[in-house]
Point group: C2
C-alpha cells in the first residue's frame, strides 16, 4: 500500500475530487527550513506560502519603538502565509521565522493562480482557509479587549498546547500583548492553584 501524501490530510475535508487533489498536490514542492531561518522578511513581497509538515514557526513585526511583537504561531498542518503581501503583491511588514527545523510544502503565487482560477473547489477551499484565518484573527483581537491577560493565556494553552510547550515565554508574551515578566507571574499564579 502506497504511503499517503501529507497534503492529503490538509485537503482532507474539501469538496475537491481525488483527481483535483492530486493535481493540486503535485504542484507543491517540499522544502526545509533550519531553526532561526526566515521564510519571509520585512520589506520583501511574499511569493510563496507553505503547509507545515513538522516544526514550529512564528510571524512577528517590529513596532515603532523597536519592539518585537509576535503576530502568530504555526505548527503541523497549519498554512503559513502572509495574506496581504501574497495577494496584494506588496512588500510586507512582517517577518516569518522558523522556531525549529521545519519541513514544509511550498507553492508559489503563479501556480496558485492557475489552480485558483481553473479548479472551482480549489478556490472554494482557498477562500475558506482565508476566512478561517480572518476569523481566528478577529477572535484574538476581541480577546485582547474583552479578556484579562491570564484568560488570554489560558485560552492559548487550550487552543495551542503544543505551541505553549515549545515556544519561549517572551514570544508567547508579546503574542498575548504583555511582557515576559507579567507572563512569568501569571504562570506562577496558575501553577499555585
Amino acid at each position: 500500500m502506497t504511503q499517503e501524501h501529507f497534503l492529503n490530510n490538509v485537503f482532507g475535508k474539501t469538496d475537491m475530487t481525488k483527481e483535483e487533489k492530486a493535481i493540486a498536490i503535485s504542484k507543491f514542492k517540499q522544502v526545509t527550513f533550519e531553526k532561526n531561518s526566515f521564510l519571509l522578511e520585512e520589506g520583501k513581497t511574499a511569493n510563496h506560502y507553505w503547509f507545515i509538515q513538522s516544526g514550529f514557526i512564528r510571524s512577528y513585526v517590529i513596532d515603532t519603538e523597536g519592539n518585537d511583537i509576535t503576530t502568530n504561531f504555526y505548527s503541523v498542518g497549519d498554512i503559513v502565509i502572509d495574506w496581504p503581501s501574497f495577494f496584494l503583491r506588496n512588500p510586507t511588514r512582517e517577518n516569518i521565522q522558523a522556531l525549529s527545523d521545519c519541513v514544509c510544502w511550498q507553492l508559489d503565487f503563479e501556480t496558485f493562480q492557475e489552480l485558483f482560477h481553473s479548479i472551482r473547489n480549489f478556490r472554494e477551499q482557498g477562500r475558506t482557509t482565508l476566512v478561517g484565518s480572518y476569523f481566528a484573527l478577529k477572535r484574538h483581537s476581541i480577546s485582547m479587549i474583552a479578556d484579562q491577560a491570564k484568560d488570554r493565556y489560558l485560552r492559548l494553552v487550550k487552543e495551542k498546547p503544543h505551541v505553549v510547550q515549545n515556544v519561549s515565554l517572551k514570544h508567547i508574551a508579546t503574542f498575548l500583548g504583555i511582557t515576559d515578566t507579567s507572563l512569568s507571574r501569571i504562570r506562577k499564579e496558575i501553577a499555585s492553584e
Copy 2:
C-alpha cells in the same frame, strides 16, 4: 448624460470590463435601513452583504461579561459584511446595526457565488477586498498591543475622521479597547495641547 451608478465608484479600480461591471452591478438591490435597525443579529447566518451609499453602521459583539464591544465602523463606500458567517455559512456572534438612516446596495450569497465563479475579475476583486479587510484587522490588532490608547485614538481620527465626528464616544471607546471615561480624558488632554 446618464447618471453613473453608485457602485461604479466602488468597483472603480478593478480589472473588470465595463460589461462585467454592468452585469455585477445589475445584481445588487438598493435597500434602506432606519437608524438603530439591524442588518445582522447574533445567532443568525449572514446571507447578504452591502455597500454603503450613505450613513453609518457599526458591528459589535457582546462579550462573556455582557459588555458591548464595537468591532468595526462602516461608512460611505465601505463593504459591510460578516466574512466568516457569510462564507462559512455559520451563525454569527456579531451584530451589525445602523447608526443612522442608511442607503445600501445588497447582494445575497447565491448570487455572489454565481458571479464569483463565472467572472474571473469579480473573484479577483472579491479576494482583494477580503484581504484588505484582513489587513485592516491585523493593523488594528497590532495597534492594540503596540500603541497607547491615545495613539490608537489619534490614528482613528486620522483614518476615519467622519466616523469620529458622527459616532458616540462610548462606541469609539470600546472599539479602541478602553472605557468611555478614559476616552473622554484622552480627548480632554488632546484638546489642551
